[in-house]
Amino acid sequence: MDTLNQSLSKKAGEAHAQLDAHVREIVQWHFSPETGTPFWLEFAETLDFDPREKIGSYDDLKLLGHFQDEWLRGGPVRRWVPKRYADQPVYVFETGGSTGVPKNRISIRDFQIDYEMFSETLPDESFPRGSDWLMLGPTGPRRLRLAVEYLAQHRGGICFLVDLDPRWVNKLIQYGKHQELDLYKNHVIDQSLHILRAHDNIQCLFTTPKLLEALCEKISLQKVGIKGIFCGGTEMDAQFHRFAREELVPGVEFMPTYGNTLMGLACCKPFNPADNYAIIYYPPQPRAVIELVNPDNPEEPVDYGETGRVMLTTLTREFFMPRFLERDEAERAQPIEPYPWDGVQNLRLLSELQESVAVGVY
């Protein structure tokens, strides 16, 4: 046990050192006149210090304050493209936007890198290389569509797509159009059934919790040849996790994940019955870091096991987002061997917003 703790402790120390080095590299990149991002170069002009000189570690990012999500609404989007990538093809992904202007994040290859890293965590037995995928979930302007398709291709497969517009789903709920919502759900599920029945080589599935429930009401995924399910896109709780493993898809590999356009993709702690189906995610450090902080004082991290507000930092050459306070909360989880840095347990919408915001509706 001591050996394990020592080993984990050593790994955690190394991960932290790696994070600090990564922070220095990313700050250099985004604030350098040669490679930097127009937004951050302009931002630096408002500072009385040069971030490249002052920021030497993750903790030093405090000097930049908190990233504001309003900065991502509206244009010009090109102000987020680092100068070094100005001649590269640029994707733009949206997040939010059920009402009002969505937030935009540009991407060049980040989503591919994120999903290549995630691919390394997928067991080949249940997500066989060369097998095809069905992606049943939010597509449109979201990163998820291209990302899952890329994941399938990266693993040698082809991705079949059934699209779902979550903004329309939100509106139907808002208007109390339950029957229309049911019809739309059936419309989406029917398309999936056609695809699953027509293509024998589909063995992997991406979908959201609610769509997985709806799909399993119509078909046995095990019988139709699905071996692995990558499930995410919206909030998921321990009860759903248990229900999925025990009743919806017993015998099929079930991988809960937490991804978002701003962060990338967080992996779930490998399933352990001792966790009682708690869902514990680990961000793709050093490309992204999640800290849980006191909601009333974001400068104060919470202790392990305590509830805190999610503060997300994204650190890639394409996108730099320091200390953004998300609308989510969770409990702080201990590092583990595969991910020797802090994780988040039972991620959910902030308590104060739970009555006013609908989440996980699709």
Binding site: Q179, E213, Q239
Partner: protein, 477 residues
């Protein structure tokens, strides 16, 4: 900590998603309630046909006998509450503690449920208008020398239930002798009563498969309403509005029940004072069958003043006070919100709160750690005033004066109307009014909240669950 499980075909299931229900006075958690995810309900609904078959194996008479036994068990016995046992007193304390209904009123409501379980044969006789109940067993029979057949319309009856008053649960009880399993979604503050009723019936011999009990969120409730075949939905205007046009959902929304005193009796209005007070305030004024409007052709101001004086005497008391008559609000902000809404609407000319001058202090009252709204009587000179035709979850009434010939055109949908009149022409008009759901007539006027359980209530449950079909039996020569 007490745990209230999900019941899946009668079998307890502990969810990993638990909601806490607290005592409104102390804030102390009283129970954790397992929450069902939507998919779990959907999965179980696939078993509805099998569950119904189990119930169909018993005759109506056997199920009526089970109901009678359950009536006593509900009132007198310790019944399972997951791993614990719940005594009748535990139940009273728990319901009162999480809903704010005084314990004395909880006891009264308990008796209503007992009564319906015990006298279910009369209830069914009323709902079926005297049908030979063996026709439900066999599916067909002979009535007045003609073949008669009824076919069930659903494999399960969904019920999205309220938290306002335990007595309301008597409305879905006839489903069991009508051989229809239940899929119950309890109100978030009142899981106690439907769970205890289910346990009493199971203990009395009802097949457990007759009970699905799913505390859940809005998506779980929508699942029940969309896929149960037939459902009852209880709730306020905004909750029920999206389902109004769905013929498979029977709406139990706002009541806006009324007393009308016609011209021929209005000079004797004082004789009906007790009737009005009972109709307005009994059961804490929490039911859709409580009176929220007194409509008269004259003497309105006088009536309103007198009602205000009497109702202002009803003051909040601790929940365990045997004389407590009004209920506390589980959410103090809701009480304040309602009071603010009334005050804002009183700024529109044409209405006055006459109780204000008779009570000490404001409408919102803090007593024994709970928040109450004191009875409120509004005198409405203008029948179009926003307070003229509304209801709230406390003793609230508007007295509205309009010419008799206009009353029935203006009252709007009204769950119960007690009409005090001997005027034959007006009685004919009342009979013809489609706005009136339940009509109380006769020289001995009935309070709006005195209902016969064998009568239809926002629809007839038997007609909702069974459809008459044509049957021709050709026996040849």
């Amino acid at each position: 900590m007490i745990h209230i499980p999900i019941l899946r075909a009668g079998l307890s299931y502990r969810s990993l998603n638990l909601a806490h229900v607290s005592h409104i006075q102390t804030g102390e958690p009283l129970a954790v309630v397992s929450q069902a995810n939507r998919g779990l309900i959907a999965k179980d609904l696939h078993q509805a046909k099998d569950n119904k078959r189990v119930l169909e194996d018993l005759s109506v008479l056997e199920l009526l006998a089970i109901g009678k036994k359950a009536a006593n068990l509900f009132i007198e016995s310790e019944l399972p509450l997951d791993d614990a046992l719940q005594s009748p007193d535990d139940y009273i304390h728990q319901v009162s503690g999480t809903t704010g209904l005084p314990q004395s009123l909880c006891r009264n409501n308990m008796q209503k449920i007992r009564l319906v379980l015990d006298e279910m044969e009369e209830v069914l006789d009323g709902l079926t208008r005297g049908l030979d109940l063996s026709i439900i067993d066999s599916g067909w029979g002979t009535h007045n020398k003609r073949p008669l057949s009824y076919v069930p319309q659903t494999d399960a009856l969904g019920a999205v239930l309220p938290s306002n008053s335990p007595g309301v649960h008597s409305l879905w009880l006839p489903a069991i002798p009508l051989k229809t399993p239940l899929i119950l979604k309890p109100g978030s503050e009142e899981p106690w009563t439907p769970f205890r009723i289910a346990q009493a019936l199971i203990e009395a011999g009802c097949p457990p498969q007759a009970f699905g009990f799913y505390p859940t969120d809005y998506s779980g409730a929508a699942e029940i309403l969309l896929h149960c075949g037939k459902s009852l939905l209880f709730g306020g205007g905004s909750t029920v509005a999206p389902w109004q046009a769905n013929p498979n959902v029977q709406i139990h929304g706002p009541g806006r029940s009324k007393i009308i005193i016609a011209e021929d009796r209005i000079s004797r209005w004082e004789e009906y004072l007790d009737l009005m007070i009972t109709s307005i305030a009994e059961n804490g004024g929490r039911s859709c069958i409580n009176d929220s409007g007194v409509w008269v052709p004259s003497h309105g101001r006088e009536i309103a003043e007198t009602l205000a004086k009497h109702l202002a005497e009803i003051t909040p008391k601790p929940l365990d006070d045997p004389d407590a008559e009004i209920a506390a609000f589980t959410n103090p902000k809701a009480a304040e919100g309602i009071s603010d809404l009334i005050d804002n609407q009183l700024k529109v000319p044409g209405a006055t709160d006459l109780t204000a001058k008779y009570r000490d202090g404001g409408r919102v009252v803090e007593e024994a750690g709970c928040t109450f709204l004191s009875p409120t009587v509004i005198w409405c000179e203008d029948p179009e005033h926003p307070l003229a035709n509304t209801e709230f979850l406390f003793p609230f009434v508007s007295v509205v004066e309009v010419p008799q010939e206009e009353i029935l055109d203006r009252i709007g949908p009204s769950l119960v109307v007690t009409a005090i009149t001997d005027d034959d022409a007006f009685i004919v008009d009342l009979h013809r009014s489609s706005e009136v759901e339940r009509l109380n007539l006769g020289p001995l006027a009935l309070a709006t909240n005195k209902i016969a359980y064998g009568d239809p209530h926002e629809g007839n449950l038997f007609d909702f669950l069974y459809r008459q079909r044509a049957l021709q039996v050709n026996r040849g020569q």
